[in-house]
């Protein structure tokens, strides 16, 4: 009983106050923001969504920055290129 209480105290504090070896580390990778149930639909007409995944100079952002899954990144790249053909972006 006492042990579990101490555990809780540790997790509540900041990440520098880690003491226990058995504590789980913080998650290193974010999950994909475009997969899942309520994810927005990728479309070449949805400019608001596409602009979020472009850099300031208009280049496509890499997966290691945005953590989009490989399947969705391919869809995203295709729809950005379609929007470029129509001079929307």
């Amino acid at each position: 009983m006492k042990k579990t209480k101490r555990f809780k105290k540790n997790t509540k504090g900041s990440k520098y106050s880690k003491l226990s070896l058995f504590q789980k580390p913080d998650l290193k990778y974010k999950s994909c923001p475009l997969s899942g149930k309520d994810a927005p639909k990728i479309d070449y007409k949805n400019l608001k969504l596409l602009k979020r995944y472009l850099s300031d100079s208009g280049r496509i952002m890499p997966t290691r920055v945005t953590s989009v899954s490989a399947k969705k990144q391919k869809e995203m790249a295709n729809s950005i290129k379609r929007a470029r053909i129509l001079a929307l972006i």
Binding site: D43, K45, L47, R82, L86, A87, L88
Partner: protein, 109 residues
């Protein structure tokens, strides 16, 4: 039957009657070549993000239609010759989304 989306951009200096006749002309081409137009959208005059053939602005028109390969072939054959068009794009979809309209609101400008 396949599902397609088609968008074309016309030049800026056309009158209302000219753009409407263009729209009717391409609708007729689709309907005659064993296709069927489901929805037409007008996105209005928009700024192009980069200059294409010395044009800075253009009128956007958008079709959603059913058809076969020959429908698209005939449509693009007619558009290739047309001088008043800047650019066009045809995309094939497994399922068409007929409800959401991305270019209704003014804040997309």
């Amino acid at each position: 039957m396949n599902n397609y989306e088609h968008t074309f951009i016309t030049k800026q200096d056309l009158s209302d009657n000219q753009t409407k006749s263009l729209l009717n002309k391409y609708q007729d081409i689709i309907n005659k070549n064993s296709g069927k137009v489901l929805i037409t959208e007008e996105w209005g005059l928009r700024n192009l993000s980069h200059i294409i053939k010395n044009n800075k602005k253009g009128f956007y028109f958008h079709f959603k239609f059913e058809g076969i390969g020959k429908t698209v072939e005939e449509l693009e054959k007619a558009e290739n010759i047309d001088d008043s068009l800047i650019r066009y794009l045809t995309v094939r979809f497994k399922k068409l989304d007929l409800e959401t309209k991305y270019f209704d609101k003014k804040d997309y400008y």
